[in-house]
């Protein structure tokens, strides 16, 4: 079943972002949801579907119904999805599925956690280490940045990618974040800052790694028919694709080409467009090597040229194909499953032409990519300003 033109995003919301000790994870979700709903001019009783992700800081089982209870809604469709960083794109796809199947017509998609203040930094790092295989990787102390470091080193080995290329990702995204009023990071950085930062897992240093934020994000997704009731401009889902190729890095089919290729192909086919039609992209960026890989695997640049694409400024806000115009997870916010949600929110704002100082010139069609695990599970979205 195609999802083209089956669902619209009519509201987006971000919670307070950064260190927000006066709010819980559920509170961050609720604040983002309220802001998204207000933007759409809707009321809580309009919501008949709820999709959320998971929490690693708060001890709730069945987060979907926990959140419904907290928000005082009784949705006839509710789910919680555990797909790591891929969750937001997949949540939107599930929302569109539910709408296309007639099971819901107004779905709240939300994710958020108090990752910065709801746990210590050591607890955050240790909890995330659980992403490694508990029996065959964990005993070796691999660390999540270590997994991505091995991917980065292999890309450097095969394609001549340099640390400076990855640094360009961090520097450009920081520049974008400085134009975003709600971004976690507020100070500019230079290539020298990135290259000279504390080493975490060679070749990655601290500024090659995403943030640990308190943050929540939300979308209101509606059927095209009901979207007419919203006061905001709807953004249309043109295409979507998903794939899972492995979970643990030791089982990854390749360290230089990932499932992004397949999920993007599915999304392009559904949208009836190709990579050359994409005007800007919001790519998952847990580490600086990842947007480089995804730009290649989504066909936005030829294989092996992702490093040059960033180094030469072609992905900068005023470049040929702007990437992560809000600052991404490296500079805007990263809080569990909410990280990639902000890429969707940013795409919506850019497509509407409401991105203010960071507005890109061409904003009719965007690609958003999320990935979870170690580039294990992928979701690609193609969003358009008009009905396709």
């Amino acid at each position: 079943m195609t999802l083209r033109n089956k669902a619209c995003i009519v509201g987006v919301g971000e919670s307070e972002i950064g260190k927000v000790p006066h709010m819980t994870g559920l509170g961050l979700n609720a604040q983002a949801a309220k802001r998204a709903l207000d933007e759409a001019g809707l009321k809580p009783s309009d919501i008949d579907g709820l999709i959320t992700a998971y929490s690693m800081t708060e001890p709730y089982f069945m987060l979907g119904s926990v959140l419904a209870e907290y928000l005082g809604i009784q949705p006839t469709y509710a789910a919680s999805l555990t797909a790591g960083g891929a969750s937001p794109a997949l949540m939107l796809m599930h929302a569109a599925d539910a709408i296309a199947a007639g099971r819901a017509s107004c779905v709240l998609v939300t994710a958020g956690e108090n990752r910065a203040t709801g746990q210590s930094r050591d607890q955050a790092v240790e909890a995330l280490a659980a992403v490694g295989h508990p029996y065959f990787e964990h005993p070796y102390g691999p660390l999540i940045p270590g997994f991505y470091a091995m991917i980065a080193r292999r890309h450097m080995h095969e394609y001549g990618t340099r640390r400076e290329d990855m640094a360009a990702v961090a520097v450009q995204q920081r520049a974008n974040a400085l134009l975003h009023p709600n971004a976690h990071m507020k100070k500019p950085i230079t290539t020298a800052d990135v290259l000279g930062a504390k080493p975490i897992a060679e070749p990655l240093g601290l500024l090659d790694c995403c943030l640990i934020s308190d943050a929540g994000g939300a979308l209101i997704v509606m059927s095209p028919e009901r979207a007419k009731d919203a006061k905001s401009r709807p953004v249309w889902l043109w295409g979507a694709g998903e794939i899972t190729t492995h979970e643990h890095i030791l089982a990854a089919p390749s360290l230089t080409e990932f499932g992004t290729k397949r999920s993007a192909e599915i999304a392009y086919r559904m949208a009836g467009i190709g990579p050359k039609d994409i005007q800007f992209a919001e790519l998952y960026d847990c580490f600086t090597i990842v947007p480089i890989l995804e730009a290649e695997d989504a066909g936005l640049v030829p294989k092996g040229e992702g490093g040059a694409f960033f180094r030469e400024g072609r992905a900068a806000r005023d470049g040929e194909l702007p990437v992560n115009t809000h600052g991404g997870m490296l500079s805007h916010a990263h809080a569990g499953a909410a990280g990639g949600l902000f890429g969707i929110i940013e795409a919506v704002r850019q497509l509407r032409g409401e991105a203010g100082a960071r507005q890109v010139k061409r904003h009719e069609v965007a690609l958003v990519h999320n990935e979870g695990g170690i580039l294990s599970q992928h979701g690609t979205l193609i969003l358009g300003r008009e009905r396709r």
């Binding site: 070796y140 897992a201 890095i249 089982a251």
Partner: protein, 136 residues
């Protein structure tokens, strides 16, 4: 590697009992499908190629090549704090399957992609953990 603090121990389960028993006995074991001949690293109840349940353990040569590696500077937990900096690598075994391990012993931090390594065993609790060192 010296071991200050409780490093994670081998944790055999029904899938991996033979693997960890092998490691304790100084053998690196893979699994092989009796029906289709596929060989793999991560212990499973069935063959992920053909779903045959006719699975057997086979001893690997213990030789391999480094596919990629990293040097960890930020310990993932208190247990590893005394170990940094240490090398984590993906090893392509001579038999084909890929596994993850530390590179230990002399010159570990000078390791390079493509370099030959061979297995060694590190005692952890009552068991042993397959590790790799640079092959002379």
């Amino acid at each position: 590697m010296s071991s200050p603090g409780p490093l994670p121990l081998p944790a055999p389960n029904a899938d991996s009992a033979a693997y960890w028993a092998g490691a304790k006995a100084g053998k690196l074991l893979l699994q092989r499908c009796r029906d289709c001949g596929a060989t793999w690293f991560m212990s499973r109840h069935l063959c992920a190629s053909c779903w045959s349940e006719q699975v057997e353990s086979v001893e690997a040569s213990g030789r391999g090549r480094v596919h990629s590696f990293t040097v960890i500077h930020r310990a993932p937990s208190a247990a590893f704090a005394g170990q940094v900096p240490y090398v984590v690598a993906l090893i392509d075994l001579a038999e084909g399957p890929r596994m993850l391990a530390n590179i230990v012993g002399a010159g570990a931090r000078e390791i390079a992609i493509g370099e030959l390594v061979r297995v060694t065993f590190e005692q952890r609790g009552d068991g042993a953990l397959p590790q790799f060192q640079r092959a002379p």
